[in-house]
């Protein structure tokens, strides 16, 4: 095993002649928080879906958690967590039922599910709400819970697709604290976001434009390179080059 969580080489995805993802290459180290930025339609979600095994690449090579994305799809799925931009818990199930369901489909033993559920509920201070329907929770809590559920099975890598959309700044701050906690446990975080202040929290960020990666470095280096004060300005300079619109 290498110390790389994700290795991508010239990965492409073509839909009917349209290159959604155009020969991208990058590496993500273990325990790293990797920000995957890009304007709408730049190909972020498509790239992410290929890495999660939701979509077959057209060409190129990639390994996720040391497993080949063509050959060892099933092993990858066991070792990753995924949280999509759409809210993904069942609103008509209680918090406890949601946790048990998702833990159950990852094949975790019932006794372990029980002890970990207690831990998790204490961490989130949701003990009292454990038997409430998820639909009744405020959005911020739902997102935090969804993240906790996505890493409940201790995956090597967690993919977060715009996890903080529509959430207030305080909750976003809490959310990022949870992400840091996860990396402290050795989980690699691969995150897409629209919020440039969040890009600053990442160890490294890549910026996709028209299916290609235009910039990839630490937020500090990128700001120096583009002589910008914030990631927001960096992003604007790069994303303006985009020719295709959604």
């Amino acid at each position: 095993m290498t110390n790389k969580a994700i290795i991508v080489e010239k990965l492409s995805k073509t839909f009917n002649g349209f290159k959604a993802v155009d020969e991208i290459s990058f590496e993500v180290g273990r325990g790293e928080i990797f920000g995957f930025l890009g304007a709408n339609g730049a190909g972020k979600t498509t790239a992410m879906k290929m890495l999660c095994g939701l979509s077959m690449p057209s060409s190129g090579k990639a390994t996720v958690a040391g497993f080949d994305i063509y050959q060892e799809n099933e092993s990858i799925k066991k070792n990753i967590g995924y949280m999509s931009q759409k809210f993904s818990l069942y609103e008509d199930l209680t918090i406890r039922e949601n946790i048990r369901f998702y833990a159950g489909i990852y094949g975790i033993r019932p006794d372990i599910i029980k002890t970990k559920t207690v831990q998790l509920l204490t961490q989130l201070s949701l003990e009292k709400e454990a038997d409430q329907l998820v639909g009744q929770l405020p959005l911020g809590w739902k997102q935090k819970l969804a993240f906790s559920v996505a890493i409940f099975h201790d995956p090597q890598i967690v993919f977060l697709d715009e996890p903080t959309g529509g959430v207030d700044p305080i909750t976003r701050r809490d959310f990022w604290n949870m992400i840091y906690d996860a990396t402290a446990k050795g989980i690699t975080v691969f995150v897409t976001t629209h919020y440039m202040d969040e890009a600053e929290y990442c160890d490294r960020v890549s910026i996709m434009v028209d299916g290609q990666i235009d910039a990839l470095d630490t937020p500090g280096n990128l700001k120096r390179l583009y002589q910008a004060e914030s990631m927001d300005q960096v992003f604007l300079q790069i994303a303006r080059k985009a020719k295709r619109t959604e």
């Binding site: 077959m56 759409k86 008509d92 329907l133």
Partner: protein, 368 residues
């Protein structure tokens, strides 16, 4: 297997939390049986008839009394004249009129060729045909009675026997029809809706990114509806047996076995629909328009297939409900065994295998 258990548990939570839908699913068969059993019926009873009796002899009075005594007719207006008939039809107060000409009593005794006229309101052709048929039978019966007095050179005695349904009850026909309809609605529509909902809410992506086999996801969706449908069959059979007096002449086990086969066909159809659509709206549209309507029209439950032109008769063969309807009628009403329905069972099995494999194939294509 553990994963499968967790999935089924989750599906049951979904179903039980949505009380209204559950109530509809379980209440629908009862409502349908009761509506069809008591409100909708193609039997004609107490139809209003008027009789113009211009003869008024002993024989004609006897005929009028005979008609009056029948439960199918109710005499409207004792002394009608020929001129009034059309007015009555226009007002809609009568369905049928019988005209007894003035020479009726004379001819019936002397010449043996008396004439009667039946006039029926054919705006509803089925009712008109039925009523004239009833009336003809009564008249024929009356003729026989008269003939006992006279000696006629020869007579043909018709003895009609209505096999399997001597009382000509409509329930014998619609109970199998309601079974097909309810199973189709619950299985096909609900299964497709619930899978498409997971897609709409974004949960499907999470599930597909997990190590769960996609086959487990869709099979787990089908199991709760299989169970609900079995409960529905039991409700329908109990209601029809105890409330509508429809017998179950064949083997109950066979009846359940073929019903489960039909449920599997419907579930596969639902899975297929959910594999090719992305929104609950279109899933609903396809289930109702593309599938439910043809089922009502082509299953033979409301419109007899034998009367359809060849192209429509050919189409009816691809409607699963048609075969199920035939099987249920054969087993439940005629009491036939497996030997006499194996062909239909084979067709349904083939349909199930085809639909299920199509559903799986489509589901996998969407993953890439």
């Amino acid at each position: 297997m553990k994963q499968f258990y967790h999935f089924i548990l989750k599906e049951f939570y979904h179903i039980f939390r949505d009380r209204k839908t559950l109530l509809i699913l379980l209440g629908m068969p009862m409502a349908q049986i009761i509506i069809f059993g008591f409100a909708l019926s193609n039997e004609v009873k107490n139809a209003h008839i008027t009789i113009v009796n211009e003869s008024n002899g002993a024989a004609s009075v006897q005929l009028v009394q005979k008609i009056e005594a029948s439960k199918y007719f109710e005499l409207y207006n004792q002394s009608t004249r020929t001129a009034d008939i059309e007015k009555m039809f226009k007002k809609g107060v009568i369905k049928v009129a019988l005209v007894i000409p003035s020479d009726f009593d004379k001819t019936i005794l002397a010449q043996n060729n008396s004439r009667l006229q039946i006039i029926a309101d054919a705006t509803d052709p089925n009712v008109a045909t039925t009523l004239t048929a009833y009336l003809s039978i009564i008249i024929a019966d009356f003729q026989k009675e008269i003939n006992q007095l006279n000696t006629v050179p020869y007579t043909i005695d018709l003895e009609t026997r209505m096999m399997y349904n001597p009382q000509l009850k409509g329930a014998y026909n619609f109970v199998p029809g309601v079974m097909a309809m309810v199973l189709l609605l619950v299985c096909t529509m609900m299964t497709s809706l619930t899978i498409v909902r997971e897609k709409e809410l974004g949960n499907m992506e999470i599930l597909l990114a997990s190590p769960v086999n996609p086959l487990i996801i869709i099979l787990a969706k089908a199991v709760p509806y299989l169970i609900l449908s079995i409960i529905n069959i039991i409700t329908i059979l109990l209601l029809s047996y105890f409330v509508l007096d429809v017998p179950i002449n064949g083997s109950l086990i066979l009846l359940f076995a073929v019903s489960i086969l039909f449920i599997l066909v419907s579930l596969s159809l639902g899975l297929l629909i959910s594999s090719v659509t992305d929104s609950q709206k279109s899933a609903m549209f396809i289930s109702l328009i593309v599938m439910f309507l043809p089922t009502v029209m082509f299953s033979g439950f409301i419109f007899p297939i034998e009367n359809m032109p060849l192209p429509l008769r050919t189409i009816s063969n691809i409607i699963p409900a048609k075969w199920y309807f035939i099987i249920v009628k054969s087993v439940m009403i005629k009491g036939l065994g497996f030997k006499l329905i194996w062909k239909e069972v084979l067709i349904l099995t083939g349909m199930m295998l085809f639909l299920f494999s199509m559903a799986i194939k489509k589901f996998k294509i969407r993953l890439s």
